[in-house]
């Protein structure tokens, strides 16, 4: 449908650059440290990093929104799924689960898996946007959260590639792979959000590590720090998401696939010589 090679190329170029920029925004403090300690505070300032993350998010939204909301059905589908998911996250603030557990990742992963990477990105990022709106959580951290949640939905179709290769459709293995994917992202979400916090915790004096520490040692230290401080919190999210996928995954998938066929169903009215577009006969033909 008008999806020429050039357009596809441009689209993947946007994805690639925006994702590089987003990853860069998260990892910038590390590289800044590598490059020289005296300028770290200024180079990795939160304002600069927020601009980087925001640009990445804006580019991905611009790119994904067109196709994923091409008709009223897809707009309504996304709107309702996001509303449902945001209501779930409302539940989370009302009765906090253990640690960093949040029920929103479940639907983001399955939605991206079933409806494709564009819908997945919008589902992820807009779920966090809407739940921030209704719970009063708008802030400079929001672009980062939206970006990472978007990536979760966007990468979910890769699971589909793996599942098809293993011929595991509608088999237990499919759910196992999805649960593993959810668990990994549950951990990665926490690790990336820690990195958002990083510029606040590091300052001009570069006091977190000895000056001149290499990138590899810095990463090792971050890992050690992460394991000691946040791992338990994030494990709750990882295990919770994986458990939700195991328990609810199969029936939810069945429902989503069923509705996917109904939502993708398109009536394309063709106009050939004999029948004009607004002719009653052609309308009847379409409905027949």
């Amino acid at each position: 449908m008008g999806d020429t090679l050039v357009r596809r190329l441009l689209r993947w170029l946007v994805y690639l650059l925006a994702s590089l920029l987003g990853v860069g925004a998260f990892l910038y403090p590390f590289f800044a440290r590598e490059a020289g300690a005296e300028a770290v505070g200024a180079a990795a300032s939160p304002v600069f990093l927020t601009v980087l993350g925001g640009l990445s998010l804006v580019a991905l939204l611009l790119e994904t929104q067109g196709e994923a909301t091409a008709d009223a059905k897809r707009i309504a589908l996304l709107g309702v799924l996001i509303g449902l998911n945001a209501a779930l996250s409302f539940l989370e603030t009302a009765l906090p689960g253990p640690g960093g557990f949040s029920p929103v990742f479940f639907l983001i992963i399955l939605g991206g898996y079933v409806f494709g990477h564009r819908s997945g990105f919008l589902l992820g990022s807009l779920t966090l946007f809407v739940s921030a709106l209704i719970t009063g959580g708008v802030g400079p951290w929001l672009p980062y959260r939206m970006l990472v949640a978007g990536w979760i939905g966007m990468t979910a179709p890769f699971v589909g590639l793996l599942v098809r290769r293993l011929r595991a459709q509608a088999r237990p293995a499919e759910i196992v792979i999805l649960a593993a994917f959810g668990g990994l992202w549950g951990l990665a979400f926490g690790a990336l959000m820690n990195l958002w916090f990083w510029p606040f915790a590091t300052g001009a004096a570069d006091q977190h590590w000895q000056v001149g520490l290499g990138l590899r040692e810095t990463a090792q230290r971050y890992l050690a720090f992460y394991v000691t401080t946040s791992l338990v919190w994030d494990l709750a999210r990882a295990v919770g998401t994986a458990a939700m996928l195991v328990v609810f995954g199969r029936p939810t998938l069945r429902t989503l696939w069923r509705f996917q066929r109904r939502f993708e169903f398109q009536v394309i009215a063709t106009v050939d010589g004999a029948v004009t577009g607004d002719d009653a006969a052609s309308v009847a033909e379409v409905h027949a």
């Binding site: 050039v6 580019a59 707009i75 509303g83 709106l133 006091q207």
Partner: protein, 358 residues
Amino acid sequence: MHPLAWFAWVVVASLSALLTRNPLYLVLLFGIALLALEAVSAAPRAGQLAGTERRGRATPVSPVRFALFAIPAGAVFNAALSHFGETVLFRMPQGWPLLGGPITVEALVFGAVNGLVLSTLFAAFAVLNVAVPVRDLIGYLPRAFYPVAVVAAIAVTFVPSTQQQVRQVREAQAVRGHRMRGLRDWLPLFMPVLIGGLERALQLAEAMTARGFAGRRANDAGSAPAGSSTAQVGTIGGLGCVLVGSVLRLMPRWSAWSTPLLVGGVALVGWAIWRTGRGVHHTRYRQHVWALRDSIVVVGAVVALVSWVLWPASRAYAPYPRVAWPGFDVRVGFGLMALILPAVIPAPQEEAHADDRV
């Protein structure tokens, strides 16, 4: 107050919080944000749709509670992990990974300032969250994000009805003798809500189509929106410039090139957004009226920003190597006080009805 005036206020307040590490200014900003929050929480909300927006709009965590957590946590966290500074309180055993080494007053102070920065940011945005209704936060998204705004608006309206549906399904299942024991027992609640929601999405789509809504304009249905490839190229160019610029920023030899590249890249992406949104027209219902009060608030924000630029000397503060009392420039203090304007200007009487003018 006009949402745009609030946006200007929150941008300046949060920029100020991010740009300084001087605890005196941060405490001042935090206090100002608390007063503003108090003022907007007490003010009657004009022209709000009943029900959906009022519920759940209060900040779940008050900024004071956030600060009471963030400041000590930041201090302890930083003191435990960083061992710089000259005023040693006591020493942890050297052999412990990360924790081993001297615990210093400087590290404690630095960590507490980090917590204060986060608390001030949190308080400033708490004001925005309470002051600006959800529909305005969505309504002021750039026009290029029209599809996103539509989806978000649908989602926001579906949240309360989803919650209602959850209640109904729970009651229905309870009548049937369903009891919640484990994780698996959520399934009979979740599935009806999901299926019901998707069915309603189909109905909504039919209703939207029946009212003439099309995601794309009719003349270019089936192909990409005209001009979007140009915008795409602009986005790609802009992202590329920013990427190269931020890499060059880290190389001392090339860092002079980075600022033009970054600015140019951001401008290119901005241009792409403008170009994408060019074709979207939207009409506003219940417009906000820009009043004198809004102009005063914006002027106050500009004054605060200018005072940072004019007298930057006392902005930076680092407790290392030996902790000292931070400097305080009275002129900057007065400049920042201009941010208090939204809390002190009395709301005009007729503002309660201003929203109803069409």
